[in-house]
Symmetry: C2
Subunit: 355 residues, 2 copies
Amino acid sequence: MDEADGSESELDRYRRIMLLTDGFSTPFLAKTAISLLRYRQDDIAAVLDATEAGSTAQALFGTGGTVPVVGSLDEAEADALFIGIAPPGGKLPDHWRQIVVSALGRGMDVVSGLHDFLCNDSEFTSAAEKHGCQLIDVRRNTERHTAQHVDFRQGCLRVLTVGHDCSVGKMVTSLETQRVLAERGEDARFVATGQTGIMIAGDGVPIDCVVADFVNGAAESLVQRHEKHDILLIEGQGSISHPSFSAVTLGLLHGCAPDGLIMCYEAGREMVKGLDEIQIPPLQQLVTAYETMAALRNPCRVIGVSVNGRNLSADQTAAECERVSSELGLPACDVYRNGADALADAVLALRGERR
Amino acid sequence: MDEADGSESELDRYRRIMLLTDGFSTPFLAKTAISLLRYRQDDIAAVLDATEAGSTAQALFGTGGTVPVVGSLDEAEADALFIGIAPPGGKLPDHWRQIVVSALGRGMDVVSGLHDFLCNDSEFTSAAEKHGCQLIDVRRNTERHTAQHVDFRQGCLRVLTVGHDCSVGKMVTSLETQRVLAERGEDARFVATGQTGIMIAGDGVPIDCVVADFVNGAAESLVQRHEKHDILLIEGQGSISHPSFSAVTLGLLHGCAPDGLIMCYEAGREMVKGLDEIQIPPLQQLVTAYETMAALRNPCRVIGVSVNGRNLSADQTAAECERVSSELGLPACDVYRNGADALADAVLALRGERR
């Protein structure tokens, strides 16, 4: 058995993935599975949820097309089982232990983004060793060097998504902007910093699990590994104003030294997710805070706004994009509804200025 | 053997400490030993450095009075061996292994602030187990809960030291300000966030070694443990502009939600320590950055300046204090040379405003 670090594994080698969401196929809990269906549909063999067996991913999650939902490991050929949920607390549901052990018994690798590492569980490590397969905890890392204020390659433009809170669409914004730029023939790369992003991209750094002294350094070396590309769309984390997670956000901001930022927010969200009595600061104040902090490391400004309109109608979203665009003087769009063309334009305009 | 966490151990129970600096008794490397001599002199039995045996702490380090420098463990009665150096890289010098094993063989506890944990070394853990004594790695921690934006007790005033760089005197400024306030009869407590501070105070959180997602939470619960006191002087870490350590700094700032900040800097230092080509931003810019970031969590402002004049004469230091005081419109002093009365005054003035 080889216990691989998420940061070094090549998760994109799997071409027949079974996504485990058994009993937890709600949009909030199953966001890892949903994102994998959205961005790696061709690599997904099936979704395993006995309570929804017979359905399709599209019917269950609104994405994933005809990928079948099955009731057991027997019902699809797969080379890896990916834990498809991100539950608060990060623990494996009790009744999943047997599913994980059975998957290992079939020689499948098991990939997890939970805070509780599979490889710290002796039942799992024994089974993996016995059957010659891997347990991959994507949050596990051995990052342990401090940032050196590296001069990144001239010609590698770095764009980081930032947000007014957690879970507002930073990863999706980075992915969608990368997709548009790639479609336009640009050498643009998505750079993952969270467990779901890492499962999609195949590599990355689980930045929220790095020891504090080495957060900036982990982000810096992640960028170094990808600086051969012309444009990096770096997945942001947390928020610089978040009472719980601002350390992660600033370490990432300083470590990757972006040239541009895309400000992501969810229209209508006024309170911090999970801290319901705490008000989120106004967008303009956050733009100033991000630019002030980023400038301590590298010349940088916010170049566009990603509006998450999931609680709005299409018309309301269009009006909100217009409103915020005028308030901040920046292009704005909802990447789910409208695609990321406006943001791709802003990235290319920034590159034009910097040349 | 009990492997204690630094955060939970009671390091102030030791009354006969031997400080190990063998072969490394320079001011830069031995700063842990020097700080313990300065702030816990009555608890120090001896300094162990065979290359300087026969001297006194005062002669060797300029502090510590008649504490003897000895050449072997036999030459003083001690209940604990404290690793007295903070070497770059954080590794135990090779020839110290035998000294640590011998100390454990005598039933002494061994206390270390190194990044390489003693309790991960099987030779040390076996010896500790055999002789019934403790290995205490003060940087080891199991902090794992996220900050909750706690409302701290009204009447607990929180003052954090911040800096323009690492190693400019934040810990000493907090300690000296606490000392003056205590002498004036205030219920003021020093709150430690680094390995040397923890060895001095007896407890604390090694904030730079906490996993990123939990840095803010670790700082928050550290303050909660001490909020029964009227005034907390919280030891700052790093700098908000530091390319390598800003994640630590912001997590601490948001987690402890200070009411006031004391800005610490070393006169004449223009480049980041260890990153010699990187310029430190001007003080006024840093004051703005700290206040902008702190205000995202709690109303807060910089209340005074701690000038480290170690590279200046007394006259030059006085002139520098006057200059910076006028530039920033804040009281300023060198706590080594002048004591911390000006800063204690500023703390009490802040409390007056907040009441």
